[in-house]
């Protein structure tokens, strides 16, 4: 058995790594995964950079920021597969909840336009929104959704708050709203400080959330272990996407050595059945989090380009250069090479127009066809990585 050290941050979307070890998918590939619980996203990046862990559970935009030179000088990092889509929830504090209800908002939990417009109507002054990290899908979702609903730059303050501290930050009045990965939004609801307004998937139907990130030096020097790890994690993701397995997954994840929370809390996000308010109202969010289905794990180069263009715009970098640079760190080549032997469906192209699928669609794959899941944005936004950059 080869031992690989993996770093993860306690969230439900660490499930593919934990399940790969706990249910023997890693052992089938001759691997033992030494899972190291981390306290901060920057810790994942630094420990990976220093070679103290072999692979990391990371926010998908993190390797993009790193590729653009916006992090510390560490060896090159590549995202070899996406670990999860969705899994985030948007919450507001009790005061905003109250005002939204009085304004007639129904908390239906499925209409980003209605929720955003209602929020714009009742928010007074600057809206302080907690997100887990500067480079995060949550930050990108908030920067897309709120301006599309009438918020202007001066109305918004995005504040970094570590996920386990999100509820506390809201209780102290440091943030008015937040977007965070489960189980930390549900945790805030149970503490009686928050009401859930939307799942991330209501804003963007298939938002890539976490990725498996390795040093490029490692993928070059140890292709056998890289492939074995990717296959083990991919099979764990496939197991996780069977709805009958989500309850068991919640049990495993919640153990003291992993999330150390009541299993019922992790189960909400994993089953997509969430308690949204202190009144105990329940909402079903189909496809709240996906690990494998509909090519969820494919590291589309167009996703790297999408995040790169947005981040470049905020940091005064050339968008065209940024996109070219970031796409080199999303390793569709390794995905094809290492997952082909596992029978993983492989799309014909490695880049696509993001946000173009209003519903699921069968497309040509390397062998036969495969289903790609709907990935539309609530406002019809599409991103074509090949289109000229406006103003460039």
């Amino acid at each position: 058995m080869t031992v690989l050290r993996l770093g993860y941050v306690p969230l439900i979307d660490a499930a593919p790594l934990i399940v790969a070890q706990e249910l023997g998918f890693a052992a089938e590939e001759g691997l033992t995964l030494d899972l190291v619980r981390l306290g901060a996203w920057a810790q994942a990046r630094d420990m990976l950079g220093a070679g103290l862990i072999d692979a990391a559970h990371m926010l998908v935009p993190m390797p993009v920021g790193q590729a653009l030179g916006l992090g510390p000088a560490l060896p090159g990092m590549d995202l070899v597969m996406v670990l999860s889509q969705g899994g985030q929830a948007v919450a507001v504090n009790r005061n905003l909840e109250d005002r939204l209800r009085r304004a007639g908002h129904d908390f239906a939990f499925d209409d980003a336009r209605a929720a955003g417009t209602a929020l714009r109507g009742v928010a007074a002054g600057r809206l302080r929104v907690g997100v887990p990290f500067h480079f995060s899908t949550q930050a990108e979702l908030m920067r897309h959704w709120l301006p599309a609903c009438g918020f202007v730059q001066d109305d918004l303050d995005l504040v970094t708050v570590p996920p386990p501290m999100m509820a506390e930050a809201m209780a102290r009045g440091e943030v008015d709203a937040f977007c965070v990965g489960e189980p930390w939004a549900s945790f805030a609801v149970d503490r009686g400080v928050a009401a859930l307004l939307l799942p991330g998937t209501a804003i963007w139907a298939a938002p890539p959330e976490k990725g498996l990130v390795l040093l490029r030096d490692f993928t070059d020097a140890r292709p056998v272990e890289t492939g074995a790890l990717m296959r083990a994690v991919w099979r764990a993701g496939r197991w996780l996407d069977d709805p009958d397995h989500r309850g068991t997954a919640a049990e495993i994840l919640s153990r003291v050595i992993y999330l150390n929370l009541p299993p019922e809390l992790a189960e909400r996000g994993l089953t997509g059945r969430l308690t949204i308010s202190a009144r105990g109202e329940m909402r079903d969010a189909p496809r709240f989090v996906a690990f494998n289905a509909g090519a969820a794990s494919f590291p589309w180069k167009s996703l790297a380009a999408l995040f790169a263009r947005r981040i470049a715009g905020r940091h005064g970098l050339d968008p065209q250069d940024a996109m070219a640079c970031a796409t080199r760190h999303f390793r569709t080549d390794l995905y094809r090479q290492h997952l082909r032997p596992a029978g993983t469906p492989l799309p014909g192209a490695s880049s696509r127009v993001e946000g173009a699928l209003a519903e699921d669609r069968t497309v040509a794959a390397e062998r036969g066809g495969m289903i790609l899941r709907a990935d539309g944005f609530f406002d019809g936004f599409v991103f074509d990585p090949a289109a000229p950059v406006p103003g460039a």
């Binding site: 901060a40 996203w41 920057a42 810790q43 950079g49 510390p72 102290r172």
Partner: protein, 195 residues
């Protein structure tokens, strides 16, 4: 004579913060501040405009400092990330010791090195203590799982505790596994079977 540096140590546990501050004082004539209260951390740090910020690598509040390092424009940036394009060995040593440092742009490496060396030495001690604590916790956790597995066996097979443990141990030895791992599998299987 260069000006005194303002060094901020972000550490909620005063039993840890104090020795770090002492170590830093020995390393040079610096102004040292400890921030224990982590709410509003970004504002606290920005207000102090320190030359160096030291924080445990695993402290979740690190991610708040990352934002601070990135958010402001280059001209007004209060702290830049410590980036060791100059000294990779030092960065690595810091990360290995479990420490991360944010350093104001333009601070000369020869001024930074003694500070980091002192911090690294103190953090190493904490790292060791933390590893020992984690090992103790893991052992406790394993004991609990083994107890639960024994209970499952005693109930299912009508045997006493000693026999249950012997059975676990034999199964582990035959399979080349640890008793705790066998116990874990048994408890999980029993859970699936609703026992």
């Amino acid at each position: 004579m260069s000006k005194r540096l303002l060094i901020v140590v972000v550490e909620p546990d005063s039993a840890r913060a104090q020795p770090i501050a002492d170590g830093l004082r020995e390393a040079g004539d610096h102004d040292i501040r400890i921030i224990a209260e982590q709410s509003g951390l970004a504002r606290q740090v920005a207000d102090l405009r320190p030359d160096v910020v030291l924080i445990d690598i695993a402290n979740p509040s690190r991610d708040v400092l990352e934002e601070l390092a990135l958010a402001s424009g280059p001209a007004e940036r209060p702290v830049a990330m410590f980036v060791d394009r100059s000294d990779e060995g030092l960065t690595r040593a810091a990360i290995e010791a479990g420490i991360s440092a944010y350093v104001v742009d333009g601070l000369r490496p020869e001024r930074l090195k003694p500070i980091l060396d002192a911090a690294i030495a103190r953090f190493h001690i904490f790292q060791q203590m933390r590893a020992e604590l984690a090992a103790t916790r893991a052992a406790l956790e394993e004991r609990k799982i083994i107890d639960r597995a024994k209970a499952v066996l005693m109930k299912a097979r009508g045997i006493d505790e000693e026999a249950a443990y012997a059975l676990l141990r034999k199964t582990a030895m035959d399979g080349g596994k640890r008793v705790a791992d066998i116990a874990q599998q048994l408890v999980m299987a029993a859970g699936l079977l609703g026992r």
